[in-house]
């Protein structure tokens, strides 16, 4: 029995063209319908009334970067678990212990992260 074929995705083309059409139409319409009143002051970056200082694209806290790296790692972990979850009943207790070991290793890493204070946002 076929559980899925590429033809299943044909309706996606319709959906995609509808969505793209809506977005492009809206952006075009708003570009041409509104008035055009240019002035230098108005087109400066908004900074609550005062003149903006320097470039906006400043370096940020390294915490965001660590969050992104940890996200990638855990996301791949979750992806690994999808094929397991789908075949869960076929694999039975054997698969369960297998996955328990996998999660156990990751939770050890997670514990290390917590203890290291990487996720404490209120301190430096």
């Amino acid at each position: 029995m076929n559980k899925g074929l590429p033809q299943d995705y044909l309706p996606l083309l319709i959906q995609f063209s509808l969505a793209l059409g809506f977005v492009v139409m809206t952006i075009f319409a708003s570009t041409y319908l509104g008035p055009r009143l240019r002035s230098k002051r108005k087109e400066d970056p908004f900074e609550c009334g005062i003149e903006s200082q320097g470039d906006a694209r400043l370096p940020m806290s390294v915490k965001y970067f660590l969050i992104a790296i940890l996200f990638v790692l855990f996301d791949v972990e979750i992806i690994f678990m999808y094929p397991w979850a789908v075949n869960f009943k076929k694999l039975g207790w054997f698969g369960f212990t297998e996955m328990l070991m996998f999660v156990g290793f990751l939770m050890a890493g997670f514990y290390y992260i917590i203890k290291k204070g990487v996720l404490n946002w209120d301190e430096d």
């Binding site: 899925g4 590429p6 995705y9 694209r57 992104a68 940890l70 996301d75 290390y112």
Partner: protein, 181 residues
């Protein structure tokens, strides 16, 4: 005239394949040719997305979803974050010196050569359409193979994750009393 005939006779599958291939190449070229690194990242997302389309055409549906979620959704976000860290105003000057340029070009050529040689050497096994199981690339089959035949590599992956995690923290987390770098 001959060319037009070919275009007229393309089937839907061929249309989809050529469209996705052109989109992939466009994204890939945009990635290396655009001056702004943020634009490069966006082009790369386009490339990944169209590669996912090709996966779907091969009926590797789970792989397509993983490609979108992990590469386009997670790793590219990480890239964007990293790029937003760097000060993009400072033009990198390393690539402008001639030794660097020569090294880069020769490495690229060598890689290309190896790639072509491998493809020429490789044996492409033809699949018999009549007895090929279309469910091969689906998540159910993949799961059974991964968790029955490849149990040890799978468990080792979790060790790899552990190493990656501690490595990332070692690099990113500043200890008390450690000097800034």
């Amino acid at each position: 005239m001959h060319f037009l005939e070919i275009i007229k006779n393309l089937s839907l599958v061929q249309w989809a394949f050529y469209f996705l291939s052109i989109l992939t190449l466009y994204g890939a070229l945009g990635t290396i040719l655009s001056k702004n690194p943020i634009h490069s990242v966006i082009y790369l997302v386009v490339t990944f997305f169209s590669i996912s389309g090709i996966y779907i055409m091969l009926n590797a549906q789970f792989l397509a979803a993983v490609n979108v979620i992990v590469y386009a959704g997670a790793i590219m976000v990480l890239f964007l974050f990293v790029l937003m860290f760097l000060n993009l105003k400072e033009e990198s000057t390393e690539m402008k010196t001639s030794p660097m340029l020569i090294a880069a070009v020769s490495t690229g050529l060598l890689l290309g050569l190896i790639l072509i040689a491998t493809i020429r050497k490789a044996e492409i096994t033809r699949v018999n359409y009549n007895d090929f199981d279309p469910n091969t690339g689906l998540i159910e089959t993949l799961g059974m193979v991964l968790y029955k035949n490849y149990m040890l590599p799978f468990e080792l992956v979790s060790v790899l994750f552990l190493v990656a995690m501690s490595g990332a923290i070692l690099l990113g987390k500043r200890e008390k009393g450690e000097s800034h770098f």
